[in-house]
């Protein structure tokens, strides 16, 4: 990359302010100066609310709602965008600069067929005829590795998966051969295994077309794959700018260091020593062959829509079971079954050897007390009309009949336990930050003095640095209180850090159950391998080295009557066997795998299973 020549994008002293309902201006982005050279990919990184999107949109001369550019200059491809009249800007948008939105699912018009929307930029700018544009679009669909490139354009957005929509949106952005493309968190809403496919597709077209791009993300590891340079933002200001290697390996600012530390693979917590127990003691919680779903149940006890198909596992006292799988794989349903919110169609859940009833109202209070639920979204998990003290106090009254000053003292103790000041007790949830809400959420569950916490994606909605702190708290609490967790997440890194045992769900079926040690070992179910190989690593060049040769297609294998659910995506499948018979369960040391190949078969295909074949 040469630093000579004119930059394609030049922001100088950019300031953006928002006017509130009273006509008061408030600055949300200040003194941004940055440049992007032709052919370069610049990443804007920062936590939510740091101004990434606002800055990115300014490169289209666009500001949202009541925002406006209140100072500085924006130059793109020789055009001064600040202060340019709307009609002139319209001529540049979609032709000189184009935009790939965070959620393609929302950014596609649900009423119009996809092709019409993809070629629209070319048509409104009068760049080509409809036929030429459609041909070009199909070419881009192919370049972006979309399945069925010739017909996907005839579909409506709701008929296409999220990962495909994101690529279709990129095709729409690229159809006019713009000088600059802005990607705003294009893979944030996707599963890791889908993310890697989309990232590869993006990287390939950006490289082949020599596109200049600005890539907005909160994920340092993703950015490391796709960008040449990184600009770190915080509170609307630039913290640090530099080449990818500089930021990753020689961060200068404290904030950047924290960001890099949060993104780096965690050191696994010291494993919990086994609690003293008799050999004959049943596990704390045990699930056996649980089938659950929606709709009526047929004669064989199978629900119309099957979400969970035969799940078995056990959690000992004080142990952590990590449950991992992509969205829709049945993780939350599993937690709901344990909590009694969703009665299983068949199978049983035992607590200390006693079978729990399927529904809450048939369980006794003691059983309810011992299992507590913590949700992902702290915003909806706390009642906005109920104060923090009342929210934490209610389980104290309900389960332990605590009232008055006793209850108050206990609330303070619980707040302290989750490292929150006692003064917060009088506040309403709306006055707390995301991290604080999640701690209150946790304190409320702890108030019941449970034996088992069901944690459903408790850190997913938080910014990396905050999520890190909450995770540390969970690890500490476990040590202090001897709690057992069922820890649900889509992030295999977190599972590695916290779990004693890991269950991998695919399509509602556990494909692998592995102890902490076995998880670090070499032999895994093909889906587990794919999952592990899909998590971006914090080093440039990882994406090129990674391959998805053992994954083809991205449609989850739903609607299978029999056979392995992973069949359609499995590169080492045995047609005629895998798609006909349900895979047998093979038990190894600290590990069970549901795959026809078994341990020997998986060993025999090591090159593939370990991802050694270049893409």
């Amino acid at each position: 990359m040469t630093l000579s020549g004119d930059p394609l994008v030049r922001l100088a002293g950019l300031e953006i302010s928002v006017r509130d309902a009273q006509g008061q201006d408030k600055i949300i982005v200040r003194d941004i100066s940055l440049e992007v050279q032709p052919g370069e990919v610049l990443a804007l990184i920062g936590e939510s609310g740091s101004g990434k999107t606002t800055i990115a949109l300014s490169m289209l001369g666009y500001t949202r709602g009541a925002c406006r550019i209140s100072g500085g200059t924006v130059e793109v491809a020789g055009h001064r965008l600040d202060g340019l009249p709307e009609a002139r800007l319209r001529g540049l948008r979609g032709r000189v600069v184009s935009y790939v939105a965070q959620s393609a699912a929302a950014a596609f018009n649900p009423m119009l067929p996809i092709m019409r929307q993809v070629i629209e930029p070319a048509l409104v700018h009068g760049l080509m005829t409809r036929e030429v544009a459609e041909d070009k679009a199909r070419g881009l669909f192919r370049a972006l590795a979309l399945p069925r490139p010739d017909t996907v354009g005839d579909r409506y957005p709701h008929q296409v998966s999220g990962g495909q929509l994101q690529r279709l949106m990129a095709a729409m952005a690229l159809i006019t051969d713009p000088a600059l493309v802005i990607f705003d968190e294009p893979t944030t809403a996707l599963d890791v295994t889908t993310q890697i496919e989309v990232l590869k597709a993006f990287k390939a077209v950006v490289r082949d077309l020599g596109t200049t791009a600005v890539y907005v993300s909160h994920d340092l590891a993703v950015v490391a794959q796709i960008a040449d340079r990184i600009c770190v933002l915080r509170d609307g200001m630039v913290q640090e700018q530099g080449r990818v290697e500089e930021i990753l390996f020689l961060p200068r600012q404290d904030y950047t260091r924290a960001l890099v530390a949060a993104a780096a693979a965690r050191v696994p917590a010291a494993p919990m020593p086994d609690l003293p127990r008799d050999a004959g003691d049943p596990p704390l919680i045990q699930m056996r062959d649980v089938v659950a779903g929606y709709g009526g149940v047929d004669a064989q006890g199978n629900p119309q829509v099957r979400i969970l198909g035969g799940v078995s596992f056990a959690i000992e006292r004080g142990k952590v079971l990590g449950v991992i799988g992509e969205s829709g794989s049945g993780k939350s349903t599993l937690a709901r079954v344990v909590a009694g919110l969703h009665a299983p169609a068949s199978g049983r859940v035992n607590l200390d050897g006693y079978t729990l009833e399927g529904e809450i109202r048939h369980r006794d209070k003691e059983q309810l007390r011992r299992i507590q639920l913590v949700f992902q979204n702290a915003d909806t998990a706390l009642n906005p009309a109920v104060s923090v003290g009342e929210a934490i106090g209610r389980p104290l009254t309900f389960f332990h009949a605590l009232r008055g000053t006793d209850r108050k003292a206990e609330v303070v103790r619980l707040l302290d336990l989750v490292r929150l000041p006692a003064a917060l007790a009088g506040r309403l949830p709306g006055e707390l930050s995301g991290g604080q809400k999640q701690r209150v959420n946790l304190a409320r569950a702890l108030a019941a003095r449970p034996d088992l916490l069901l944690c459903d994606e408790v850190t997913s909605a938080l910014d990396p640095v905050v999520a890190e702190a909450v995770l540390d708290l969970l690890i500490d609490l476990r040590r202090e209180l001897g709690l057992a967790y069922m820890f649900i997440t889509h992030d295999i890194g977190i599972v590695r850090a916290i779990a004693d045992e890991v269950m991998v769900l695919y399509g509602g079926v556990p494909v692998e159950l592995a102890s902490h040690e076995a998880l670090e070992g070499p032999l895994h179910h093909p889906y587990t391998r794919l999952l592990m190989a899909s998590v971006p690593e914090l080093r440039p060049g990882w994406l090129e080295a990674a391959n998805s040769a053992f994954s083809c297609g991205s449609s989850a294998g739903a609607g299978h009557a029999a056979g392995c659910r992973f069949f359609q995506r499995c590169a080492i499948s045995r047609p005629g066997l895998c798609d006909v018979l349900d895979p047998a369960v093979h038990v190894g040391a600290g590990q069970t795998i549901a795959c026809h190949l078994g341990f020997d078969g998986l060993q025999a295909a090591p090159r593939i299973a370990q991802g050694a074949i270049p893409a």
Partner: protein
């Protein structure tokens, strides 16, 4: 996360203050109007200078004078005294009917939100009720039961309970799927605790706005019925009835017809202003 600069906090507090002030203008105007009419309804008849039925002027539709501040009506009665008594009828009937509609609607709405088959039955029932145009429904009921004040209140409440039902059901259903309700259910809380302590507190604001809106609709329908001569019957009169009986004075702009007309308008517009101020002007036009 506590990284908001000090100036930002101060700024936000100031912005909040200004927002309050602005929303107070609309609230103040509307609120004063509503309170004014409530007071008139409460004490008005007690301070009325004349009996409502007493003929005090030989001249009909006479203009305002010091003796008759709002002039006389089509029979030569004191318009001010009649206005005072009519306001009581309009406000109290409308208020009672709205209260009844809201109570029934909200109760059934919450019940429906918590159970599938109850929901199916209630929804169909209220759908059926709202399939009759409101004024037509009033006509049918009054046609068969006669126009007495209890029938009037019952009719008005029946016509507008489906709306209250639908609103509270939709609101409650939206809240019932939120995680904090699930947490309460998982804790083993009773249905009544969940509905009363977890769901209802979050409904108070929107339901109050809905109540106001319904009060407007009820007032309009009541006035319409009375205007047709099917509402409050002589010798009593509400505001709509005053407009009806004095309609002949319209040609020369008699206060007897204009004052009740504007009274109805101020009552309903005032209520709308309050609702708009409280709900931040996000209310979409509902169905009358």
């Amino acid at each position: 996360m506590n990284t908001v600069p000090k100036s930002g906090v101060a700024h936000e507090a100031q912005a909040l203050k200004i927002r309050r002030r602005r929303f107070n203008v609309s609230l103040l105007l509307g609120g004063t109007t509503i309170i004014f009419w409530l007071i008139v309804a409460l004490v008005g008849p007690m301070v009325a200078p004349h009996a409502p039925g007493q003929v005090v002027d030989l001249d009909v539709f006479s203009p305002a004078s010091s003796a008759l501040p709002l002039g006389s009506d089509y029979l030569g009665r004191d318009v001010l005294s009649r206005m005072l008594i009519a306001s009581r009828f309009t406000v109290s009937i409308a208020l009672l009917a709205t209260l009844l509609a809201a109570t029934v609607g909200v109760f059934c709405g919450l019940l429906a939100a918590s159970s599938g088959w109850i929901d199916a039955i209630f929804s169909k029932l209220f759908d059926t009720l709202s399939a009759v145009p409101s004024l037509m429904f009033g006509l049918v009921v009054i046609g068969s039961l006669g126009a007495s004040i209890p029938v009037l209140i019952g009719t008005l409440a029946t016509v507008y309970s489906p709306g209250a039902f639908r609103t509270s059901r939709a609101l409650a259903r939206n809240i019932a799927v939120l995680d904090f309700v699930t947490v309460a259910r998982a804790r083993g809380e009773t249905l009544s605790y969940i509905v009363l302590r977890e769901i209802l507190p979050n409904l108070v604001g929107p339901l109050a706005a809905d109540f106001g809106l319904r009060f407007v609709f009820v007032t309009l329908l009541l006035s319409g019925l009375s205007f047709l001569g099917l509402g409050v019957q002589p010798p009593n009169a509400d505001l709509g009835a005053l407009v009806r009986e004095n309609i002949a004075g319209l040609g020369f702009g008699a206060a007897a017809v204009l004052v009740p007309t504007f009274a109805i308008a101020s009552l309903t517009i005032g209520m709308n202003m309050v609702i708009d101020a409280v709900s931040g002007g996000r209310r979409a036009g509902g169905r009358r």
